[in-house]
């Protein structure tokens, strides 16, 4: 009987050790993409605000970037409320996943798959508001799926979109567009094709004020 308990202890230690080792290994990236060809579907990014707004800002952003998350959660709500909602500003989001970030392309894909079902901005908000995923280094696949569920996506369609990496080409096209525009880091902002180096809601308010005055 004593031998049996020793055997149990050995199995428990071996199993526990294997799990401990597994939890400390570096997580592998999500399913690797085949070399991505930039899409030529002419997609120019998801937008917020009316088309007739006098000013349009293009933001190049990376879902894994902490500055982008800070901008999205601190500055953007004010910009949405005070500039976009009243029709003064139109906002265009472009993906610019940095190569140093392990899961940013995957996150961009999740947002695009949300966009396919009309919920890009909802997924965008989930990814930035629950940004802890970007600090853990863990494979966020399951978490992103929870985000998709939380915003009401059809999960079967979402899974098919993610597994097929349906919008990888769009993301690559966005990166190429950003590189051509001179984007070096994120978030980067462009107004009428020109870089805009500031990034607080007050800066954008001043920008909109100055540009609308010029038009009057």
């Amino acid at each position: 009987m004593k031998r049996f308990y020793v055997l149990l202890a050995l199995v428990a230690v071996a199993g526990g050790g294997a799990m401990w080792y597994s939890s400390h290994r570096q997580a592998a990236p999500p399913p690797a993409a085949a070399p991505v060809v930039a899409a030529t579907d002419g997609f120019r990014g998801y937008t917020l605000g009316v088309e007739s707004a006098p000013v349009e800002v293009t933001e190049y952003s990376d879902f894994e970037c902490p500055f982008c998350a800070s901008f999205a959660t601190v500055q953007m709500p004010v910009i949405r409320e005070q500039l976009i909602a009243p029709g003064k500003l139109r906002w265009r989001y472009r993906d610019f996943p940095l190569p140093t970030h392990r899961y940013s392309r995957y996150a961009a894909l999740a947002a695009q798959c949300g966009g396919e079902q009309g919920k890009f901005w909802e997924m965008h908000d989930q990814l930035f508001e629950h940004h802890q995923w970007a600090q853990t280094g863990k494979n966020p696949r399951s978490l992103f799926r929870d985000f998709a569920r939380a915003v009401g996506l059809d999960l079967d369609k979402y899974d098919a979109c993610m597994d097929g990496q349906r919008y990888a080409g769009r993301i690559e096209a966005s990166v190429q567009e950003g590189e051509a525009a001179g984007v070096r880091g994120t978030p980067s902002f462009y107004v009428n094709g020109r870089p805009f180096e500031r990034s607080t809601s007050d800066d954008f308010k001043a920008l909109v004020d100055s540009l609308t005055k010029k038009h009057k």
């Binding site: 049996f4 149990l8 799990m19 939890s23 399951s142 597994d163």
Partner: protein, 138 residues
């Protein structure tokens, strides 16, 4: 006695497997080592939760219960207690039925196999066989 030892040992291995899947589900483990299977697909499907609780956690609870009861059954005073054998068989039957349901979902709904789930199914089946055999033995 040998059957109860087998149940205890199998329940311990099952507990480790279920804990591994549960730790993945709650984000402690970043990835599942699955080889050629579709573990992540199965584990992130809508069937991986039941009543808001990860299915793997039911496995943890079930195997832990079988392990504790089986271990108690190895103690001298319970060694010949038929009530424990009945309890083990009842729990193992419930676990086996749940395993059949999960395997059905994998094969006919998700069309994907998770190796760890197959391992758990095999363990639960063996526990069930040992528990039922222990019931028939006087």
């Amino acid at each position: 006695m040998i059957r109860r030892q087998a149940i205890v040992l199998l329940a311990l291995v099952g507990l480790l497997v279920a804990t591994y899947l549960w730790l993945y589900k709650i984000g402690v483990l970043g990835e599942l080592r699955c080889g050629t299977g579709s573990c992540e697909y199965v584990q992130t499907s809508r069937f991986a939760d039941l009543l808001g609780v990860p299915v793997a956690f039911y496995g943890v609870a079930g195997y832990a219960t079988l392990f504790v009861i089986g271990l108690a059954g190895l103690e001298g005073r319970f060694a010949g207690d038929r009530r424990l054998s009945v309890l083990l068989a009842a729990l193992a039957t419930a676990g086996f039925a749940f395993t059949l349901y999960l395997t059905y979902i994998e094969l006919f709904v998700l069309h994907a196999i998770c190796r760890w789930c197959v391992a758990s199914a095999a363990i639960m089946t063996a526990i069930w066989a040992a528990a039922v055999a222990g019931l028939t033995r006087r």
